[in-house]
């Protein structure tokens, strides 16, 4: 398979530039997805993540991307908000329906500490997966106040102030990471390299 990756551009939200640069560093050829037709040009897609659940879903809807993503057959990697919107329901600023690709809900993190959870934290991988090949015990950068709550498809967890939460999910062709690989130094680049190798 080629090294082509499509990054879904959903308007105001999304740190597309950072994600592009990191993917390129990992050896990818990056295509920005601006229209539903663009999905057909790429064998795999990345859903970036800066924004709020509500706004993110609203943008995806107005861009006409929801069907394209749900129907996409190649590997999908959701990052941070991108992972959260894979869920069924989000509770940020009221209730919003997600992409419903993972059975989970997104709620405010339940912990006794400062939110958002910001900084480098250790990720505990609990299943074998090509996504975390050779990077099972690394530090990754987190920046979020909401967490994915669900017991299905959990690939990795992490702990913030004694509160354990889901830090990565995987189900068939769908992968999600709560952290930002594009901001996690070599480990993050390696994760992208691993993603590129998934068929």
């Amino acid at each position: 398979m080629s090294n082509l990756v499509g990054i879904v551009n959903y308007g105001t939200a999304g740190n597309i530039y950072s994600v592009s640069k990191a993917l390129q560093k990992a050896g990818a050829e990056v295509v920005v997805i601006n229209t539903p037709e663009d999905f057909r040009k790429v064998p795999r897609i990345v859903l970036p993540g800066v924004g709020s659940f509500k706004e993110g879903m609203a943008e995806l809807e107005s861009d006409g991307f929801i069907d394209s993503i749900q129907a996409f057959e190649g590997p999908i990697l959701g990052i941070c908000l991108g992972m959260q919107i894979l869920s069924s329901l989000g509770y940020e600023h009221g209730q919003t329906k997600g992409l419903n690709l993972i059975k989970a809900e997104v709620k405010l993190m339940q912990c006794n500490g400062k939110l958002p959870h910001v900084g480098f934290n250790k990720v505990d991988v609990i299943k074998e997966s090509p996504l975390f090949k050779n990077i099972e015990n690394e530090l990754f950068y987190f920046m979020h106040s909401y967490e994915v709550i669900g017991f299905h498809d959990v690939l990795a967890t992490a702990t913030y102030l004694e509160h354990m939460f889901v830090s990565s999910v995987s189900k068939e062709n769908i992968y999600g990471v709560q952290f930002h690989p594009e901001k996690s130094r070599k480990a993050g680049i390696k994760l992208f390299e691993n993603f590129l190798e998934i068929n």
């Binding site: 939200a13 597309i16 530039y17 800066v50 400062k114 958002p116 900084g119 102030l161 901001k183």
Partner: protein, 251 residues
């Protein structure tokens, strides 16, 4: 949770500069070289602030931002002259992972904080507070530490939190560039007052200054500039020193 060690770049494009008490434009080097250097040394994040954008009443120079952050694979927080949601969005499209705001929110339109948090998520909105001490209170300043606001730092910190800011960058006009330690008292007050992460800056002259700050105020992150620019320590050395002294850092 590790305490973040953050390299702060005060930028007057096209140079990184190092003011003292938020005055003076002594050149340190080029942004992309300096940022790369600190990234290699192990910085957890880079803060890039165009310190004159608001003062000169212009927008931040996006191409300069893009150039500075290339090949940096840790978070890049960018600020300077930010006023509108469009400014936030443009910055995210040019390399910013978080956007830092002060002058416009403080002096003209605090609502921009609420709007930006709703639109981009709290975690992407950092409010920069330039504090200056009076006898029994600290005041928020704008325009690179030279225009008063009349607002109390503690009140403003609480207010920005309630408006949805995800992080505070707490600077001190009195300590900036002096390399004589941080405003520990104010740092401790602000950190314990709000429930969002606080990054404390201004004053590190030696690794012990950073250690003292962390032990006393427990900030989420420490931003350093002079310590690095004048080669008093590298980030790696600093992190090792902190780790030896019982502080959790990302090594």
């Amino acid at each position: 949770m590790s305490t973040r060690i953050i390299a702060k770049l005060d930028v007057k494009p096209p140079y990184v500069v190092k003011p003292v008490h938020f005055e003076g434009l002594r050149k340190v080097g080029l942004p992309n070289e300096i940022a790369a250097k600190y990234y290699q040394q192990g910085a957890d994040e880079i803060f890039y602030i165009d310190i004159v954008a608001s003062l000169y009443q212009r927008k931040i120079l996006l191409d300069q931002v893009e150039q500075a952050c290339s090949d940096i694979f840790v978070p890049f927080a960018v600020g300077g002259g930010v006023q509108t949601l469009h400014d936030f969005s443009e910055l995210f499209h040019h390399g910013a992972d978080k956007v830092v705001i002060n002058t416009h929110a403080l002096q003209i339109n605090p609502n921009i904080i609420d709007e930006a948090a709703k639109c981009f998520g709290s975690q992407a909105v950092v409010v920069n507070i330039e504090s200056k001490r009076w006898d029994n209170w600290s005041e928020c300043y704008s325009d690179c530490g030279r225009i008063r606001s009349g607002k109390n730092v503690l009140d403003w910190a609480k207010e920005v939190e309630s408006r949805g800011a995800g992080e505070i960058l707490l600077q001190s006009v009195d300590h900036d560039g002096r390399q004589r330690g941080f405003d520990l008292e104010l740092a401790q007050k602000v950190v314990s007052l709000v429930n969002i992460p606080v990054v404390v800056a201004s004053g590190a002259g030696k690794p012990d200054d950073v250690l003292d700050l962390i032990k006393i105020a427990q900030p989420s992150g420490v931003a350093i500039a002079s310590l690095l620019h004048y080669d008093k320590s590298t980030i790696k050395e600093l992190k090792e020193y902190l780790r030896t002294n019982g502080v959790e850092v990302a090594l």
